[in-house]
């Protein structure tokens, strides 16, 4: 909620205040109601959270976050800024700048500059802003807000506020490449390394390959089907719900400390062109409470190049049906990667 601040000047001297609050998504209020039956003396108790389902504590009420919470690399930092004139007089020429700083980068989130300031800011008025920024680095971030204005008597004032927060790394990925005859396989293990352990709902794991490759996703559309999902699919529910969509993504969930494995195959569009060092990038996107989204992209995935043989025979076309004792045509490509020319002979 309210982030820790360091105010540059004492507040009494200032006419304006700036309040900042992180806007993580709200969540559903959860409670455990006290139970009683209708034939008991207390009767059905007035429930604290109105719900037609006594005892099921996931209510319909949304609640604002109780604290700043954690923010992960790849998520979007959203914040509410409220500038308020708490003095008795109007102020003039108000400028505001909000910047997000890390050791390496400075991102400007909001700027009301002196070129086009707020000309008059009346006593008692507020001016609100919502800023967004996708967090691209982990570690310490500082939101620096600078406000300049002129008091009614012409005195120029300024103040600066600092809000510090940590961005943690939520996931680590290990990749292993298996260069097999059947194809180039990529095994990716995605680990939830959040501290404190926070469950993450994996929306999608996909590969952005180099254009010379097609990707085959070997993961059942990204999920294993749980037995319960199977059971539900056989019930009446199937008539009112689209079966495929209901089962999709219902279990792609990584608890803090757990790891999930994913498998992909790279198919070179041109069989001759498969010997490259870089295959592409892995992209993982996830959701947490009420849809708060995050996405990270890996460094380019590299693989060790195999010593390629200088000559290669690649089958290109073969008939669908081959009958015994009847001749058939087999089309091949003979690749010669040597510089010198050679003569072919079949036997």
């Amino acid at each position: 909620v309210e982030m820790a601040t360091k105010v540059a000047e004492s507040k009494e001297a200032q006419s304006l205040t700036l309040k900042v609050m992180r806007l993580a998504k709200p969540s559903f209020q959860v409670s455990l109601p006290v139970l009683s039956e209708s034939t008991d003396l207390p009767g059905i108790l007035p429930l604290e959270q109105p719900s037609s389902l006594e005892a099921l504590g996931i209510s319909e009420f949304l609640t604002l976050p109780h604290n700043f919470g954690t923010i992960f690399l790849g998520e979007t930092f959203t914040s509410y800024l409220s500038l308020h004139n708490h003095s008795l007089y109007d102020v003039k020429d108000v400028t505001l700048k909000a910047e997000l700083q890390t050791t390496n980068l400075k991102a400007c989130l909001l700027e009301i500059a002196s070129g086009a300031p707020i000309a008059t800011f009346r006593s008692g008025d507020s001016q609100d802003y919502v800023v967004h920024h996708q967090v691209k680095e982990s570690g310490i971030h500082i939101l620096v807000c600078t406000v300049n204005y002129s008091k009614h008597d012409g005195e120029k004032k300024f103040f600066r506020k600092y809000f510090k927060f940590q961005v943690a790394v939520p996931l680590t990925v290990k990749t292993q490449i298996h260069d097999l005859q059947q194809g180039i396989f990529l095994e990716a293990s995605v680990s939830n390394v959040t501290v404190p352990p926070t469950p993450l709902f994996i929306d999608q794991v996909k590969i952005e390959p180099l254009p010379i490759f097609n990707i085959v996703d070997l993961n059942n559309n990204g999920n294993a089907l749980s037995p319960i999902s199977e059971e539900i699919s056989n019930s009446n529910l199937r008539t009112s719900m689209d079966r495929e969509k209901f089962l999709e993504n219902s279990t792609a969930y990584i608890k803090g400390g757990d790891t999930r494995l994913y498998l992909f195959r790279f198919d070179p569009k041109n069989p001759q062109q498969k010997n490259v060092g870089v295959l592409g990038r892995l992209e993982v996107s996830w959701r947490s409470q009420l849809g708060d989204a995050g996405k990270i992209t890996s460094a380019p995935i590299e693989r060790k190049l195999v010593n390629q043989s200088e000559l290669d025979l690649i089958p290109k076309e073969i008939p669908k049906e081959i009958r015994l004792e009847m001749p058939f045509t087999l089309a091949c490509i003979f690749a010669d990667l040597k510089q010198s020319s050679i003569t072919l002979r079949m036997s």
Partner: protein, 442 residues
């Protein structure tokens, strides 16, 4: 034509550490675009506690205002006057109660009051006074002079659930074993009823609250019927001739089974064990596929966990069941999805649609206020909640609503103590005794 491989073969790093491609930042990123800027409400001077001024005064109900009997007790409990409930029960227990089960029923009220006030040790002490639920002193058959034809425990079933919950609150047993034991017991009863139920005689009057089988006897007694005990202050036999004892019993035990499962699910949700909670709730949905409220809860649970796609499917099933695209439930669910998809204005429209149909819907108004904040309308959000409290102080003083309002006050300005104190005074008058004043963050 092949790509040029790098001249040095890099060793495959065993771990791909995440880095994101660096962007060149647009230093003059204009984020204060139209729609994100609101000028706050006009002058903040003037009465800081405007909205509470019109709220009528109200004196809390106390012990002296109600008769010293069951009716009085019910009045206190309905209004959430738990402190007075405890005192009245003590007063009534001082007088000898003719029927032993009445004493237990009264103590049950006291335990409920303690639980509401989160006074878990006190609740546990009262349970100790009752003692072993299945002991002879707590069984009907020990008192044949009062209950000639009844067997079983006099302890209301809800107390068994409460006892299991207390083990968690007092940290004597954080596991769910007690709940699963109760669950097994319920299922046993249901199976027993289904096999032998048809044999139950029809000409007895039954009072379902007394159909509590003994837990540890090898064969649960099946003669749970009684004629109405004249003079008892608490029981009222149901005399509907159309409903046989079997149907009522079966319904009752099935409801209890469901209640226990819901309690287990809630516990999983509180501990963020979402896959387990989802699994159990999905099972319930399979059992009751035509319950739109149950399906909606499943949708909300999916959202809480982060699975927006599954939530959408669950809510679509609700729409199909209700087949009225304009129903409040459908709008609420659509509101949640819009919120999860960052479409805050659409979410507001949905919640507003609910409010128009049910002006007293607290959740819809609360949720609308929250969405207003996300559309950069802090003043609108505050006004919505203040309005809600002003219009209906009797019903609207839920902790979550007050917490949200006070969080908004904190964002609005540093001089919010007066406003919070005003809210506190309204809460002191209208909220139940169980209201947790720490949500005000004074």
């Amino acid at each position: 034509m092949t790509d040029n491989p790098p001249s040095t073969m890099p060793k495959i790093p065993p771990r791909t550490v995440f880095e994101t491609p660096t962007d060149s930042f647009d230093r003059h990123h204009p984020l204060a675009s139209a729609g994100e800027v609101t000028v706050g409400s006009a002058s903040e001077r003037g009465s800081v506690a405007d909205f509470v001024v019109d709220i009528p005064n109200r004196v809390r109900l106390t012990l002296e205002d109600v008769p010293a009997n069951v009716d009085g007790l019910k009045q206190l409990m309905t209004r959430g006057c738990w402190r007075s409930t405890i005192k009245l029960v003590d007063k009534m227990l001082d007088h000898e109660t003719k029927y032993p089960h009445d004493a237990i029923a009264l103590r049950f009220c006291k335990i409920v009051a303690h639980m509401q006030m989160k006074q878990y040790k006190a609740a546990s002490d009262e349970l100790d006074v009752i003692g072993d639920f299945d002991a002879l002193k707590n069984s009907y058959e020990t008192y044949p002079q009062h209950y000639p034809n009844i067997k079983g425990s006099m302890v209301p079933f809800s107390l068994r659930i409460t006892k299991a919950e207390l083990a968690y609150f007092l940290k004597t047993d954080a596991s769910l074993d007690l709940f699963y034991q109760l669950l097994a017991f319920c299922r046993n009863e249901i199976t027993h009823l289904k096999t032998h139920g048809h044999k139950l005689a029809e000409n007895y009057i039954t009072d379902p609250s007394i159909i509590d089988a003994v837990t540890s006897l090898p064969s649960p007694s099946s003669s749970h019927f009684r004629k109405s005990a004249a003079g008892s202050i608490t029981t009222s036999a149901s005399e509907d001739p159309l409903r046989g004892p079997y149907t009522e019993s079966l319904e009752l035990w099935t409801q209890r089974e469901t209640k226990i499962i819901f309690t287990i699910i809630t516990r999983f949700i509180q501990e963020r064990e979402f896959p387990l909670a989802i699994q159990l709730l999905q099972e319930q949905v399979t059992k009751h596929p035509t319950d739109p409220n149950l399906l909606s809860s499943l949708g909300r649970l999916y959202l809480q966990m982060g699975s927006v796609k599954s939530a959408i499917v669950a809510f679509k099933a609700v729409e199909t069941l209700i087949s009225d695209p304009d129903s409040p439930l459908v709008h609420m669910n659509s509101g949640y999805i819009s919120l999860a998809s960052d479409q805050f204005t659409t979410a507001i429209q949905h919640f507003q649609a609910v409010i128009e149909k049910n002006p007293k819907d607290l959740a819809a108004t609360n949720n609308k206020a929250i969405c207003l904040l996300y559309t950069c309308d802090l003043s609108g959000a505050i006004a919505t909640l203040e309005d809600l409290i002003k219009k209906d102080p009797e019903e609207s003083l839920h902790e979550v609503i007050v917490f949200n309002l006070c969080t908004l006050y904190d964002l609005k300005s540093d001089n919010n103590a007066d406003k919070k104190k005003a809210v506190m005074s309204v809460a002191a008058k209208f909220a139940p005794d169980s209201f947790d004043f720490s949500v005000l963050k004074l």
